[in-house]
């Protein structure tokens, strides 16, 4: 119910639906506080036993109130009601139930509890093994599922951002705000990150007095001051979820999650924060106590009951008992009593302490042995036998410093026996994460104030920055001491340690009995501390229980460490805008516009979009277009964009020595204005790239690489230049994007180019023979480079112009080529023609073949050292029976061939032992009128004319093929030289 005199009731009224029912709340509510105010008791079902569960906490440590937020494609599972800022029109629903959350059919698991304890899955679902994937796993996944995905793409936009600062302050409670005020005075850039939508941290949940006024006054002043400073930035609704090396942190900002209207603004921003120092003011998290039936709705953390009452005016019940092992529980009792609620009793596990409040009934040295009320607590029974009727039980097992982030780089927490609490190991100095306040194990406000002053001022002194004055604050006095009474001794199978994973005291005992005693084993075997809450409220209970069983103490037992992320983060937030088509940049070729206008079909090759073929009217099937492009090119002239091939400009006095080293064959004697084909090996002797390199001057070469390997080749060339031959005078730059380059191929290619170049005489066969190159001008003075090289086997050229002329040149070649019936051709026709000619490409140089396989072993010069030279001499690469590049045709000419088919000698079975090679590239040759293939077969060059079988076991197809020369057309090369 709601306290009608609480200031929140003066704020804007908001309507929302939960599990299909409509409710009202106020601006400033969380979904959790609004549900409590509306008397919604059950918000979820537990993970394993499907027991009814209510809201347990008031922060990101929440184990129970996991909510599917939003609808349709916007739905986000596993959000915590305690973190969700209420907005008008919010839609939320419970998860992990079958039927309704109030009557869950899966609750049958609760009755089977004795059979499905720790390790149940490991023990039960072992045999038969084949059942696992098909039967066990799907059932378990459905039964145990935490939240469901919508299975639709989230249409919201997510962004990534980068922030740089000198001081990152995580948390805006009193120690965070004080740290910010002090550090801001040094002039350094300060970034404050707060998970909540309001600033102030714990002060918002308490009735503390600072400088004689309500603490909210001080928050307002501090925030106003900080906001006025240019070197301070504040991000609220932002959770730091991971700490990385060298002062890098990841944070998720909920930008528009609290707004119903989906706008163009991003839903969330994934920030990467670079900081010199991090001040961890993340406060503390309260822990529970394990006692029989301690998971009923209405049993909540005492600090959270206080938060809901003080900050939101929301009461879960009106007859409240407090069960505590420490002083802080008493403060909840005081606060609630002051609001006029009935405190039935404070039950303190500690004997022999002084009662901390005189006006409240209390029991010292007692425990709770039983609770009543399956769908909401009704009564409790004490060890003395007395029974109390209550409708809310506030439990406090003490406070744990929130040191999650200090563990992300394997910082080991250390036990502080004084406050029964794990602290950041070595205070995180080495990691540059400096805890302050409750995160540093200081729990009383008067001490937090003095300690934060001390820690931050001594830090500023150490950094030799300008010294600010200490902040003098007078405050209420708090008192805190704590015991380790965390685990009950009776009814272990109903004493819950970890609410999210349904780990009970009995499961810890079972782990112990079965030998899983180390904390790491205990966690994996029992699932203690796993899933979305990472055991924030339960880990210490499990450790205390194990310590008790082992007869030792927690500091001996140790703890598992926390891993990122601190809270669950949606995958979309990691993807940001890199989704779908935007996953990688798309690179367009210079002729893209002309090609689009000609209805080209495009194919992705790496990041490039290349024209695959250009369909013409009446062509229904891709082969019709490709066959036409090949025939038209071979009969007259065709034009293809080959800009995507890598181009590397190489200059310097020692270029030729450098090229001799990176290629297997020699380049030193290549004359100026000539082109040579080169082969590159990896250092292990395997081939990895090929291409042509042109010499434009004594000290100037242009290397081309394959499209796919362009970045890799440049990387390797830089390695050679800087790491292996650093004394050579060589300079490299990629010019792939600077030059548009077109292949002009076919018997009329020279006549077409003579219409375009400014001095047609320069490119006659005599002046410009096969493998010549030169710089010249075209179209009245435009700089160009012409190379007489041929991939198709035709008389052919490649012409390059600065990229900005690329589209115009492609257009010009086609319009000038009309008289020759010139045709644009795509990558398919390019592929067909190179297979017909027997040129190797990526299918042949696939990272597994050697120069010897490719029939190029004579290209490895033994006169000079080169990459891969020595290891290409390996015995296995040079056996007489290695597979070598060959051509193949079907014996029945009308039969189709399949790339990837394996080659088996006639009459032999298709087994690994009989495997003699494979078909690497297959095409229908319109020139020859039947299928052809390139491939590799043992001793191929000696077996021309032999018939073998091409076996495709996937399609269960065997085709008889004849081994032929890989050069299907013009083997002597007369055409390209003509």
């Amino acid at each position: 119910m709601r306290n009608s005199s609480h200031p929140i009731t003066n704020k804007q009224k908001l309507s929302f639906t939960f599990n299909g029912k409509k409710y009202f709340g106020y601006k400033g509510d969380t979904l959790a506080s609004a549900l409590i105010a509306n008397n919604v008791k059950i918000v979820g079902r537990s993970f394993k036993y499907h027991r009814p569960r209510g809201i347990f906490s008031a922060g990101s440590e929440e184990p129970n109130a996991l909510i599917e937020l939003g609808d349709g494609p916007y739905k986000e599972p596993n959000t915590r009601a305690t973190n969700i800022e209420l907005f008008d029109g919010l839609e939320g629903s419970s998860q992990n139930f079958l039927g309704s959350v109030n009557f869950d059919f899966m609750a049958i698991n609760d009755l089977l509890k004795n059979f499905i304890g720790a390790g149940f899955y490991y023990k039960t679902f072992m045999w038969p093994r084949r059942f696992w994937e098909k039967l066990y796993e799907p059932i378990i996944r459905r039964a145990a599922g935490l939240g469901k995905l919508s299975l639709q793409a989230d249409p919201s936009q997510y962004d990534k951002g980068y922030l740089h600062c000198d001081f990152l302050i995580i948390g805006s409670g009193i120690s965070g705000l004080m740290s910010a005020l002090l550090l801001a005075e040094t002039g350094g850039e300060v970034l404050i990150v707060e998970e909540d939508f309001v600033l102030g941290g714990r002060l918002n949940s308490e009735r503390l007095v600072i400088n004689g006024n309500q603490s909210s006054n001080w928050i307002r002043q501090a925030v106003k001051k900080l906001k006025s400073l240019k070197n301070v930035r504040i991000l609220n609704r932002t959770t730091v979820f991971a700490a990385f090396d060298h002062g890098i942190f990841a944070a998720i900002e909920k930008k528009t999650d609290h707004i119903l209207e989906k706008s163009s603004k991003p839903r969330q921003i994934n920030w990467k924060i670079y900081t010199k120092l991090c001040i961890l003011a993340s406060g503390a998290i309260e822990r529970s106590i394990a006692f029989p039936q301690n998971d009923r709705p209405g049993i909540m953390l005492a600090g959270s009951v206080r938060t809901y009452a003080n900050r939101f005016g929301a009461y879960y019940g009106q007859k409240i008992a407090i069960y505590t092992n420490n002083d802080d529980g008493w403060r909840t009792a005081d606060d609630l009593k002051n609001m006029g609620l009935e405190i039935k009793a404070v039950i303190d596990t500690r004997k022999g302490i002084e009662a901390l409040s005189s006006s409240i009934p209390y029991y010292l040295g007692q425990t709770i042995t039983k609770t009543y009320g399956r769908k909401g607590i009704k009564a409790i029974k004490l060890s003395s036998g007395s029974k109390l009727n209550v409708d809310c039980l506030a439990v406090s097992g003490g406070w744990s410093s929130n040191i999650h982030l200090t563990c992300h780089k394997r910082g080991k927490p250390v036990w502080d026996n004084n406050f029964k609490n794990f602290l950041s190991g070595g205070n995180g100095q080495k990691d540059k994460i400096i805890p302050v306040g409750a995160a540093r194990g200081i729990f009383e406000i008067q001490n937090i104030i003095s300690d934060t002053n001390r820690v931050i001022l001594s830090l500023i002194k150490k950094l030799s920055l300008s010294m600010p004055n200490r902040i003098t604050l007078t405050s209420s006095r708090e008192q805190y001491s704590c015991s380790l009474d965390l685990v009950s001794s009776s009814d272990p199978s109903n004493s819950f340690i970890d609410l999210q994973n349904d780990v009970t005291q009995k499961d810890i005992e079972l782990s112990f009995k079965e030998g899983f005693k180390s904390v790491e084993h205990l966690k994996r075997y029992s699932t203690l501390g796993m899933a979305t809450d990472q055991g924030k409220t339960s880990n210490i209970l499990g450790l205390a229980s194990m310590a008790k069983l082992k007869g030792t103490n927690i500091s001996e037992v140790g703890t598992t460490i926390f891993r990122p992320p601190y809270v669950p983060v949606a995958i979309s937030a990691f993807a940001g805008r890199s989704r779908g088509k935007d996953f990688r940049p798309t690179r367009l070729t210079p002729s893209h516009n002309v090609a689009s206008k000609r209805n080209a079909v495009f194919v992705e090759t790496g990041n490039w979009l290349r024209a695959q073929w250009f369909p013409e009217k009446g062509e229904k099937f891709w082969r019709q277009s490709v066959d036409r492009e090949v025939i038209q090119t071979r009969n007259s002239v065709g034009i293809c964009d080959v800009t995507t091939l890598g181009k590397i400009d190489i200059q310097g006095e020692d270029c030729s020595e450098f090229l001799n080293f990176v290629y297997t064959n020699a380049f030193a004697k290549l004359p100026i204005n000539r082109v040579r084909y080169g082969l590159m090996l990896r250092e292990d002797g395997v081939a990895y790239d090929d291409g042509t390199t042109a010499r434009l001057g004594e000290n100037h070469f242009i290397m081309t690489t394959t499209t796919a390997n362009a970045p890799l080749v440049l990387r390797n060339l830089e390695f050679v230049r800087q790491c292996l031959l650093p004394n050579l005078d060589v300079h490299l730059i990629s010019t792939t994007d600077s030059w548009a380059q077109y292949s002009v191929a076919g018997p009329n290619s020279r006549r077409l180019l003579q219409k375009i170049v400014d001095k047609p005489k320069d490119i006659t066969n005599e002046n410009f023979p096969f493998m010549a190159c030169r710089e010249l001008t075209i179209c009245g003075g435009i700089m160009a480079r012409l190379f007489r090289i041929s991939f198709s086997g035709e008389l052919a050229y490649e012409i390059a112009v600065p990229t900005q002329y690329g589209n115009a040149l492609f257009d010009a070649l086609l319009s000038e080529g009309q008289e020759f019936n010139a045709v644009p051709y795509g990558t398919e026709a390019l592929g067909v023609m190179r297979i017909e000619k027997g040129h190797v490409a990526g299918n042949e140089i696939n990272g597994q073949t050697t120069a010897q396989n490719l029939g190029l072993s004579r290209m490895i010069s033994k006169k000079a050292d080169s990459i891969g030279n020595i290891l290409s001499e390996r015995e296995g690469f040079n056996r007489s029976d290695i597979a070598t590049l060959s051509g193949f045709k079907p014996v029945q000419r009308n039969q189709k061939l399949e790339a990837g088919s394996h080659l088996i000698s006639a009459g032999k079975k298709p087994t690994m032992e009989n495997d003699e090679g494979w078909l690497s590239s297959v095409a229908f040759s319109p020139t020859l009128g039947h299928y052809i293939a390139l491939g590799f077969i043992k001793r191929g060059e000696k077996r021309i004319g032999e018939k073998v079988c091409a076996v495709n076991l996937l399609q269960n197809k065997t085709t008889e093929v004849e081994i032929v020369s890989p050069h299907f057309i013009d083997p002597e090369g007369d055409k390209q030289r003509g």
């Binding site: 060298h246 830089e718 790491c723």
Partner: protein
């Protein structure tokens, strides 16, 4: 991770390509005795210590420098960053 580039200052690790053990700088002489064994060792054997390690990083999304980085693989502390080409001359 941040790598303190000798020319460009601290740069994010995502700008770099990692190439591992810096022994790749010491390519054997092709004319030496047992050159095949030496090249096999050079090509296939890498140190992978828990502790201080000298390794190569390539600033591909940057100035294309090959860097020799001395890093503690346990703490991820970076102890020294040099241009690989500078260390070769020494």
């Amino acid at each position: 991770m941040l790598i303190d580039h000798p020319l460009l200052g601290p740069r994010d690790a995502s700008e770099f390509i990692y190439m591992g053990d810096a022994k790749l700088l010491n390519r054997p002489n092709w004319k030496s005795q047992n050159s095949k064994t030496k090249f096999l060792d050079y090509g296939y054997l890498r140190k992978n210590p828990a502790g201080v390690h000298k390794e190569l990083w390539y600033h591909e999304q940057g100035d294309r420098s090959w860097l020799l980085v001395t890093r503690n693989t346990v703490t991820h502390e970076i102890l020294k960053v040099e241009l690989a080409r500078d260390t070769k001359g020494k």
